[in-house]
C-alpha cells in the first residue's frame, strides 16, 4: 500500500512509543490503536496499516518455529529451554510436525533458520551434482 512520508514517520513514532525495553507492550499498543480509531487524525488509515506491519514484523522476530518429522515428546521442554536461554524468555515457541523433513530439526527464529533436517542435506547433495 502506498504511504506518504508524514504517515510513515508518524506510524514509526507511535510504534516506538508502544515499545517497552525493546519489546511490544500489549496494553500501550491497544490504547494507541483505540485512540487512533477514535480520533481519526489525518492519514489514520495508512498509519494503522503501517503500525500493523511493523508490529507483525516485531512479533515475528520473537517467534520461534520448531519443525520436526516426528513428535518430539519430552524433548520439547529441553529445546524450549535452550531457545529461551539464547533468545530471551519472551520468545513464543511453536512446535510443528512436518513429515517431509524425514528427520532432524529445522528451527526458525525471526528470519534466521537453523536447518539440520535430512531433507535439507538431501537437497544440498542434489544441488552439488
Amino acid at each position: 500500500m502506498k504511504i506518504n512520508r508524514e504517515a510513515r514517520n508518524m506510524a514509526k513514532k507511535l510504534y516506538n512509543s508502544c515499545l517497552v525495553g525493546g519489546l511490544i507492550d500489549e496494553d500501550r499498543t491497544k490504547k494507541t490503536v483505540a485512540y487512533l480509531v477514535e480520533k481519526k487524525p489525518r492519514n489514520y488509515f495508512p498509519i494503522l496499516n503501517r503500525m500493523k506491519k511493523l508490529i507483525s514484523l516485531k512479533l515475528a522476530e520473537s517467534a520461534a518455529v520448531v519443525e520436526s518429522a516426528a513428535p518430539l515428546g519430552a524433548e520439547e521442554q529441553v529445546l524450549s529451554g535452550k531457545i529461551r536461554e539464547r533468545f530471551g524468555s519472551h520468545v513464543k515457541i511453536r512446535f510443528v510436525q512436518k513429515p517431509e523433513l524425514l528427520g532432524g530439526l529445522r528451527i526458525t527464529v525471526g528470519s534466521q533458520v537453523w536447518d539440520g533436517s535430512i531433507r535439507y542435506r538431501l537437497n544440498t547433495l542434489e544441488n552439488s551434482f
Binding site: 506491519k53 511493523l54 514484523l57 515475528a60 522476530e61 532432524g104 526458525t108 525471526g110 528470519s111 534466521q112 533458520v113 537453523w114 536447518d115 539440520g116 535439507y120 542435506r121 544440498t124 544441488n127
Partner: protein, 263 residues
Amino acid sequence: MSTLLEDIESQINGLKTQVAKSNVGTVREIMDGVAKIEGLAGAALNEMLEFPGGVFGLALNLEETEVGAIILGNYLGIKEGDEVKTTGKLLQIPVGKGLLGRVVNMLGQPIDGKGPVDSQVSYPLEKLAPGVMKRKSVSQPVQTGIMPIDAMIPIGRGQRELIIGDRATGKTTIAIDTIINQARINKANEGKAGFRPLYSIYVAIGQKQSNVARVIGILEEAGAMPYTVIVAASASDSATMQYLAPLPERRLGSGSWTMAWMR
C-alpha cells in the same frame, strides 16, 4: 576385533552433523524481474540472494520492512511465498586469463558453448576503483590501426576514448578494427621482453544476437579472439542483465573493471 569395533563406534559417535544457519525471507511480490521480499533481516546491499531453483537475485533496495531485489536470470519460476536465502557473497564474477577468447554474459557464465570458464578466482562486480595517485600516468600509446585517427588523435593506455556518431556511420567498425590491430601487434611482439599485450573487452548491450554473432565471426576470422573477451547482454536478455551491462563500460576507464576481468 571388538576393540576395533568400539573404536569405530566411538569415532562415529564423535561425528557431528553440520547444521546450516541461514537468513531467510519470503517473496511478497514479483513482477518484471523485480521481487519484494519480506524478512531477510541480515541482507546486505548488493548481496546475492538465492531463490528456489538455483536462480540468483541481487539485493538493491534495503527498506525497513522489506528488501527489493532484481532477479538475474529466469524469474518466471519464482512465485509469491517462495523462500529466499542470503548467500553472504557480493555479486561476483570469475576473472582471469581463462576468459580470453570466450563469450560470457554479465555474470561471467559462458554462452558460447565451449564449456566452463577456466577460472579459479572471483572478483566483486562493484568495487572502488584505485585512486588517481595509485594509477600510473598514461605513457604508452594505443594504435587503432586507422591512419587518420592515429595521426590526429592521441590515445593512450588507461585512457577513455568516446566514439560518437550517427547510426550506421561505423562506430563499431572503428572499435573492431582497433581490437584486430591490437591482436596483430600482440602476435607480432609475443615473447619479447618488456612487452605487455593489450587485451580487449567488447561489451554488447541490447544488441541483436545476430549482430553479436557477426562481430564474433569477424574477430575469429581475423584471429583476434585469443586476446578478446566478449560480454553480451543482448536485446532478448532480461532487463536486469541489460541494467548491469553498462557497469563494465563505466568501470573500464577507471581501471577497476579491466583489472577485475583480467586479474
